[in-house]
Amino acid sequence: SAVISQKPSRDICQRGTSLTIQCQVDSQVTMMFWYRQQPGQSLTLIATANQGSEATYESGFVIDKFPISRPNLTFSTLTVSNMSPEDSSIYLCSVEDLLGEKYFGPGTRLTVT
């Protein structure tokens, strides 16, 4: 199974600033995804992180607000830009391995004040 780590685990940020979240997986994976879990709600897919090319965003999410990088097969970053209190959520990295198994990271709990 893939083991995923995320940094930071949590942060409190001021409105208008940006935060970059890192996702590292211990093995090469085919797909990497970023999800958001708003307080008391389910998970919503933000985007698919594509290696070496621009991420594929879901409806309602745009690159300017959530720029994503994936420089190699085991690492990705998500930036939450120009934050507002509505961005307070848990952000989760997810991967899919060669067997089609899906794993989730521990999440980054973001609070915007």
């Binding site: 709600q41 089609g100 989730f104 990271g105 709990r109």
Partner: protein, 113 residues
């Protein structure tokens, strides 16, 4: 549109009794179905999945789920609940043409001693 429904926000069960957490889905093509569990302040943990084969899938911690194609359901079950099973359970699915998971809204399982 593809969707996953968990009709119960919360399920209460006494320790030692059987439990069922309900899930229905609507996806294009053959369904890929998953159950995840989330403990407080923790990431999602994979419980089990159905892709093909036997309709009864056995997973981690004694959980199992039954795929019912005619009812488009994938209910999670356990013969004897433990207090430690108390957590938030998410059903997720995707159709054969995509690997983007769609999540249900989650069901809080509360097992009373």
């Amino acid at each position: 549109a593809q969707s996953v429904a968990q009709p119960e926000d919360q399920v209460n069960v006494a320790e030692g009794n059987p439990l069922t957490v309900k899930c229905t889905y609507s996806v294009s093509g053959n369904p890929y179905l998953f159950w995840y569990v989330q403990y407080p302040n923790r990431g999602l943990q994979f419980l089990l999945k159905y892709i093909t084969g036997d309709n009864l899938v056995k997973g981690s911690y004694g959980f199992e789920a039954e795929f019912n194609k005619s009812k488009t359901s994938f209910h999670l079950k356990k013969p004897s609940a433990l207090v430690s099973d108390s957590a938030l359970y998410f059903c997720a699915a995707h159709g054969g043409a995509t690997n983007k998971l769609i999540f249900g809204t989650g069901t809080l399982l509360a097992v009373q001693p």
